[in-house]
Symmetry: C2
Subunit: 456 residues, 2 copies
């Protein structure tokens, strides 16, 4: 299948994954459990039942290595999966790389919402439908998650209300229009529709919102209505597990290309696209593989590189269970970078745990350097990346250039988690020369960390 | 390959077309030639040489049935081709169709610019590069063409200047940003950069521009600079021929699905996506096939249904050769519907000729009805269509419902020429209830026709 001009590695539909990979089965040490914020004790399924369908609660704590993907979910996946793996030959040429340095990328932008998010939106909508949920609430930042869940809820006939971070609601009207096109209701958060929103607005009528606030609103809405469940697009174990179709496909496609990655790269906000690519490579890593695995976060929200590994809330108002994760503190308000999907104060517990155990590396990248890489990529490979994966591209290019300079062979794989067609305002800002880098002063980060609750 | 749940028909890369299909070889009566606007005589290659590379001039008049696709062009096509053919099972279910009524669609939105336009942008950039062109000019309306050519010029290292219809330049900043991301220069038309633009602005400083004006500017720019050629995204024979990869693939994919279309539908502005799908079906049609072939145009620009078949200019200023085509008159200014790609006063000579010979049908559709169909489509199939193919979807749904009502079997194929991610403002207008239908009064259309030059 692979010759010197092959650029695209496609799998047949019959090679679609039949099960998600659950890394919990293989962890060298188990994941610290989520704790009840009132009692400080590990939470049980009954604590989560008001928010999630039981099947997802089971998946959250399952120790089974593989969990079967239901046929109805596979039928939707098959509308666009398996997704392509590309050898970035045109980028390699633009960088004047020697043949011993190779760049591959897995492209998750080929579905109608344009990112990896439907990989979990679809099963979440499915299990809710199975258990009789009539209505779902969720939050969204830049809108990739909200629009993906809107599409999934349209497929399964479920009502959806999306609390969209107010500044994104104003800046990204196209994403809101996508959600509405798929039939969802979308309101700017903080809103007057919840106690959490009203309290924030009473204290600060001009609040532009945050993911943490929007989560508080969506959780409150779901917790207080019998017909409604809540859905989260990242962070939780079951969400990351649904994304493992990415890495499972990539492994088969790299075999077609007769390639073994030396370094695997993904951008990381909540951690789901990163985990989706890298978790299926973890069994080899646990067994001693020398492949490096690099999470790339924005310098404006350096959860892994500057946060602490501690129990913290998932939301701003402190309504969620406490999760053991790398965090900057649940009140940390990241600067308004264009990669809205990477603006989260915490990091998925699974990713945090693997990082703490030393299996992962992390790098922080500034957005101007990320967009420079994205322009090089777009002009060679064609695809205009979403702002989030521009961070992964920056590190992939740096890795390639370092290997070239060092005279080493290196095979690089990164996740191109989505396209940027709905994010062109960010490119406009960059091309006009007015894009700014943001870094929070260390004192601000240290101050935010003082709000992390002290647990046991 | 086909069973009761198959929704996506994919071809292997090895089944990529190796040649474009040139319908001129099979026409029952030959195409009327383009005429020189000064002499009224058929133009020769030398007349076109200042504007186009010689290979494209040859293709424009070639009578060869197949023209080989160069390897370098195939290498770019392979980044996203072959494109999928879908059986619209979810839409069929939403419409409660019986099994005897089937809807298929060919989806051309899977490349980075999101429409069918790269099918010709890539070879046009390639042949220009081969013949030493350093710089290309073109016009664009809604921006699908300009952005596709920008991507193609980035691949082959050619400078590009795009004259973008001023009202679209203001309304579609994302499309402009895409062109700039791929390295093109984009200016609003009418501009002060050309005599044509300056003359329009002198007469009407507030002119919002039109495709006809932008063509005048791009042609003048190319004709007056030694290093520059001109490129057109529709209308001309070679452009339509490059698009035939669409229909050639569709024929193979329908075979996989064991299906034969009773009706084939495409939206038609200049005619290129329509021709790309239907021309490969014409040999069967010439041989007596009963398959109906329907061009769908907007009611606001009813070139086939209300225009005349006559020699007319391709641009507003009257700088282009005279083309025998269905036209509303080269000074006709179509209302500002959202399907910017369908706002052209004429229709490709090849499509016009086939329509005149009775091989094609035409229907005009209003935009509110088109967007209603698009919402039904998006909520069932997932993909949010560009405003242009919503017109094709409207007729596809109508055909399906008519067949259902009549108790007939019908297999319907339409071209989904692109996605609408960069056109969400149009959906926003529709969903907010403020989208208007436009129809020009018959008197206005008759007045415009009086400006068609009298030839021969």
């Amino acid at each position: 299948m692979s010759d010197s001009s092959t650029t695209k590695y496609l799998l047949d539909e019959s090679q679609l994954s039949e099960a998600w990979y659950n890394v919990q089965a293989d962890l060298p040490t188990p994941l610290p459990p989520p704790l009840h914020p009132g009692t400080g004790q590990p939470i049980g399924p009954e604590d989560l039942a008001p928010l999630f369908p039981m099947e997802l609660i089971k998946q959250e704590v399952s120790q089974e290595r593989y969990i079967e993907i239901p046929r109805a979910v596979q039928d939707v996946y098959r509308l666009w999966r398996p997704t392509p793996l590309y050898r970035a030959r045109r980028l390699e040429k633009a960088l004047d790389l020697p043949e011993r340095v190779k760049i591959f990328y897995k492209y998750e932008g080929v579905n109608p919402s344009g990112s990896h998010k439907p990989n979990t939106a679809v099963p979440q909508a499915y299990y809710n439908k199975q258990e009789g949920t009539a209505r779902i609430t969720t939050e969204t930042g830049a809108g990739q998650w909200g629009s993906s869940l809107a599409m999934a809820c349209a497929f399964f006939g479920i009502d959806l209300k999306v609390y969209m971070v107010k500044i994104s609601y104003a800046q990204k009207p196209y994403r809101r229009a996508m959600m509405e096109t798929w039939g969802a209701e979308c309101v700017p958060s903080p809103s007057m529709d919840t106690n959490a929103g009203r309290a924030i607005l009473a204290a600060d009528p001009d609040s532009t919102g945050s993911l943490g606030i929007a989560i508080s609103e969506a959780v409150e809405d779901a917790a207080t209505r019998e017909d409604t469940k809540y859905s989260l697009g990242s962070v939780l174990n079951h969400v990351l597990m649904h994304q493992t179709v990415i890495g499972q496909e990539a492994i088969k496609q790299l075999e077609m290309a007769d390639a073994e990655p030396d370094v695997i790269i993904g951008c990381a906000g909540g951690g789901s696209n990163f985990a989706g690519l890298v978790l299926p490579f973890m069994p080899a890593k646990f067994a001693g593989s020398k492949t490096r695995i690099v999470a790339v976060e924005p310098a404006a929200c350096p959860t892994l590189t500057k946060g602490v590994f501690a129990y913290d809330f998932g939301d701003t108002a402190g309504m969620t269970p406490l999760l053991k994760m790398h965090t900057l503190g649940h009140t940390f308000m990241p600067a308004g970078i264009h990669a809205g999907g990477l603006r989260y104060h915490g990091m998925a517990p699974l990713v945090s745990h693997l990082y703490d155990l030393g299996y992962l590396e992390a790098q922080a990248v500034k957005q101007v350097a990320a967009f420079e890489a994205a322009i090089t990529f777009a002009r060679s490979e064609g695809i205009i990346p979403a702002p989030e994966p521009t961070h992964a591209i920056r590190v992939a290019i740096d890795e390639a250039l370092l290997a070239k300079e060092a005279g080493e062979a290196r095979t690089i794989l990164f996740n191109l988690s989505g396209h940027g067609a709905v994010d062109m305002a960010a490119y406009d800002t960059f091309l006009s020369g007015s894009l700014q880098d943001y870094e929070h002063p260390d004192e601000a980060i240290e101050e935010a960390k003082t709000h992390i609750p002290v647990v046991g």
